[in-house]
């Protein structure tokens, strides 16, 4: 009898680790002694220090998808050198914060060569994403590769075809170079599982990159890819984008295709998840992604989608922005309040109409959405966990207690559907009656969560239950230990507020960028992106001045 005999689930989990390790392009791995020490929090400046990337490669990885395509269309860059640059940065990033589940270097380079060949022959780009490297959250299926969705039990599951979203992106010229990490069960705002472990935040490696698309947050935040694909049913695109200083869009449901995505509890429709983009550089890139997808009319294959073409919208300053300072349950941490205050001043100075927005029954919204996440009493999730015998991660247990533990009856589910629709109608009527076009709000109560700590979802989940599109972008500000001191003698309003308040002291979040979230009306995805460009533009002008 050996004490160290691995459990069957560990043997199974090791397969995922092997897939990852065998996929890493060894030629770009730095020896451990060339890496920053493990206790160095921010690794954001390491690409330049590392010596792994050339100046030209560093410059390439600083470009947006839009700019990359322009450069390739002007014959100034080849698809091959672009993907190699991002692959090198990805390998480096993976060494630093463990964000990948599988590299696809050979296939990506081969595809890039094909694109270059096509361009040399025709003088034309394959499509509007010609040669753009895109990182892909693991549970988005890729033909012939495993797809475990964060479960040890699913480590042998092979996708029989590419997810429809990937098919659309591929047709437009995209190159998939790396698959990225996600938490067990996909239901954490963190990124930790029993397969390939825990992903860290590149801005501060004691922080979470957010979740569940944490690998994508880290990927785009560190510029391992100009665009990434995440999924969001409670904040899983937006929290990572916010925590990692990148951009993210949660669309209205049923716009982007979902076919070929693996997750527990398929067929649940009361609260719908979406696939959507994260971007390292700009809101324009989120828009480009959406255009590429919807211009291909995915509803002609996946008929549950709404056949609504992507509309080209001109940004306008003739908008009314409601600022929601607080959701009434948990008071945001000081840096968030500071960023909202900053945004308010700059928007007003830019002549944009700003009003305060009172949250309308967000606790009621949470009651509905949290009951819907696991309407089956977590049965489908637990069955998969029990199949392998893998241990429950703490945040899996945390999420499961949203459920009463017993399945809802269909009648109870119907009553919740009714409550949801009533709530949506009321919220919309309120926005109309106040003349509010967009709501500017925190993405999370704080700038990020310390690893293992994200517990409060409702700054993002509320927009899932309301099915309103929401875009996240960096305010341009970062945590400042002087400006963002904890409020002395704050009296928490409830136990949740107290729990979250206790997590705050500015030094815990040092280096973290401060994000904001802009929310629009249902199916006005185009408008919310256009408005976010306006808002970001106004903030940027000031933020860059401030940084000088």
């Amino acid at each position: 009898m050996t004490m160290s005999q691995p459990q069957p689930w560990e043997l199974q989990a090791r397969k995922a680790k092997n897939i990852l390790e065998n996929s890493i392009p060894r030629q770009w791995l730095l020896p451990d002694d060339k890496l920053p020490p493990a206790d160095e929090k921010s690794v954001m400046d390491f690409p330049r220090k590392s010596g792994l990337l050339t100046e030209r490669e560093l410059d390439i990885t600083e470009l947006s998808a839009t700019a990359l395509v322009e450069e390739m269309g002007a014959d100034k860059l080849s698809a091959e050198e672009v993907v190699v640059a991002f692959l090198k940065r990805s390998v480096l990033g993976h060494n630093l914060f463990n964000f990948a589940t599988e590299f696809m270097a050979d296939k990506a380079i081969a595809r890039a060569k094909e694109l270059d060949e096509y361009y040399r022959k025709t003088g034309e780009l394959v499509g509007p994403l010609h040669g753009v490297p895109i990182s892909v959250k693991e549970h988005v299926g890729i033909q012939g590769l495993t797809c475990n969705a964060g479960f040890v039990a699913w480590v042998d599951q092979i996708a029989t075809e590419d997810a429809l979203l990937l098919q659309c992106l591929k047709k437009a010229g995209a190159v998939f170079h790396v698959r990225t990490n996600q938490p067990q069960s996909l239901m954490h705002l963190d990124c930790s599982n029993n397969l390939t472990g825990t992903t860290l935040n590149p801005h501060n490696r004691t922080l979470s990159p957010g979740g569940s698309s944490g690998g994508e947050g880290a990927s785009t935040g560190f510029k391992c890819a100009p665009l990434g694909i995440g999924s969001d049913i409670g904040g899983s695109i937006r929290a990572p984008a916010a925590f990692c200083g990148s951009y993210g869009l949660k669309t209205t449901a049923l716009r982007n295709p979902l076919g070929g995505v693996r997750a527990a509890g398929g067929g649940q429709e009361s609260i719908r998840g979406v696939l959507g983009p994260l971007a390292s550089q700009s809101i324009e890139d989120l828009e480009l992604f959406q255009q590429v997808i919807l211009d291909q009319e995915p509803w002609d294959t996946e008929t549950s989608l709404i056949p609504m073409p992507w509309r080209r919208i001109r940004p306008t300053r003739d908008i009314t922005v409601g600022i929601m300072w607080d959701d009434g349950t948990v008071c945001p941490h000081p840096p968030i309040i500071r960023a909202l205050q900053f945004a308010k001043e700059k928007l007003i100075a830019a002549g944009i109409k700003v009003v305060d927005w009172e949250p309308y029954k967000h606790d009621h919204g949470w009651d509905i959405v949290s009951a819907m996440y696991f309407a089956d009493g977590t049965e489908s999730q637990q069955a998969i966990l029990k199949e392998s015998g893998e241990p429950y991660r703490p945040l899996t247990k945390w999420a499961f207690q949203y459920s009463s533990g017993t399945p809802l009856t269909v009648s109870e589910n119907w009553a919740l559907n009714n409550a949801r629709d009533r709530y949506r109608d009321e919220y919309h009527a309120l926005m109309k009656s106040h003349g509010v076009d967009f709501i500017l709000t925190p993405t999370y109560l704080g700038v990020a969560a310390v690893l293992g700590e994200p517990q409060y979802w409702n700054y993002t989940a509320i927009w899932n239950i309301l099915d309103l599109p929401a875009v996240v972008f960096p305010s341009g500000l970062v945590v400042d230990e002087e400006l963002d001191k904890a409020e002395e003698g704050y009296q928490p309003r409830n136990v949740v507020d107290e729990r979250e308040w206790k997590k705050y002291s500015p030094e815990r979040y040092v280096g973290a960028p401060i994000a904001l979230q802009l929310v629009g009306k249902r199916f006005k995805d185009e408008e919310v992106l256009a408005a976010a460009k306006v808002v970001k533009g106004v903030l940027n002008a000031d933020a860059s001045r401030k940084m000088n």
Copy 2:
């Protein structure tokens, strides 16, 4: 102890009867001896014989909504005389086939006078439905009136506001003059309840008017209203339209508003019911109805709707029509086959591309949809029935056995949702690969059902589970005892086929018009109406020649 002591439910049900009887405008009631004998099957020619309506009133009631509005806009008709004409015809019809649940004569006439006043003052119409009388299925709520949805237990329920659909129609100038009958539970393709009894088919009073919008079928079939409002989750607009020789549209789900409609099992979303129009005269009127509703952007109030404006489509003959002769389970009765054959010949002669369409797994579709109708194991329906103690109508029991009798678990429901979406995708892919734009098919296995006999739903329900828009219109043919003889020695293919075949002999259906159903692609409601105009136009030209 008296034998005849009424049951509590009978006392309760009597209230509905009292509401009806007190609402009938007495001045237009004919004495029994002026009515045709009860055993006279068709009463279609009675309006002219009755002496109740003037020549001018008869002419008015023969006009379409579109024509009525034109005439009122040219000052050739007043709204008041229009509504009086239709009210008189409605009272007459009600005497003959019991289709009303409540008349609203005084309010309707007062409203018409207001419209006339507005027109006199401004020279303009209030809107595109100015002065058009519309009959309304009872479960569509009207402010201040009871709304029982076919249940004795609900006879005291008062609607607190008009259904959103009615609000839209009212704004456009519509006048609601009569509310119409529906079956117990709303889940029969027939029209019989314990409140106001059984509605008959005006073409043959031994036949059902169809259901559940049977009152609307009878209303539009007899021209008691140029337009009516029905609802459809399995054929409830289309069966009545077909059985009664009128026109009906089941839209794609989530286009027309549903707010303010009362039914058991609210919040069930796996199979969605829709509200939609029936029309006495034309497909153009169905189109007018849809334009009026969607031009008002109801999604800005009822946010679960798809914000998809009504598109103006030019009819084109450049279409491919697949003819589905048979659904593979129940062979249609001879008159239906004859009408399809007639349509095929005329379409080909008109240069329209016609192919045969093989039904694709319609039995599988039925397995899914029938399980979804009562996913709660009929609990919500039975609770309402038990509340009053009213007896179950035979067709209520019939429908309830679609359910296993025990509620589905949410997980089972999710699996069915997945199966439904897969089936929809497959069906759509098949239509695309065959180049079929529209499917021309029976609405029901026969021209109508004898009262109490409609048991087979799947010529309509299949398009509910597929969520494809479908329009029903008269072929122009009627049952002919010579041409439509039963096939000698037919070998039924299964017990259901046998059951339905045994119901056929041409003399049972004498007088019944033969309808056809045209089905289009999801969200192509506009296209299916445009194509139905083309098909109907082609058939009409021939049908009228044939009739000469």
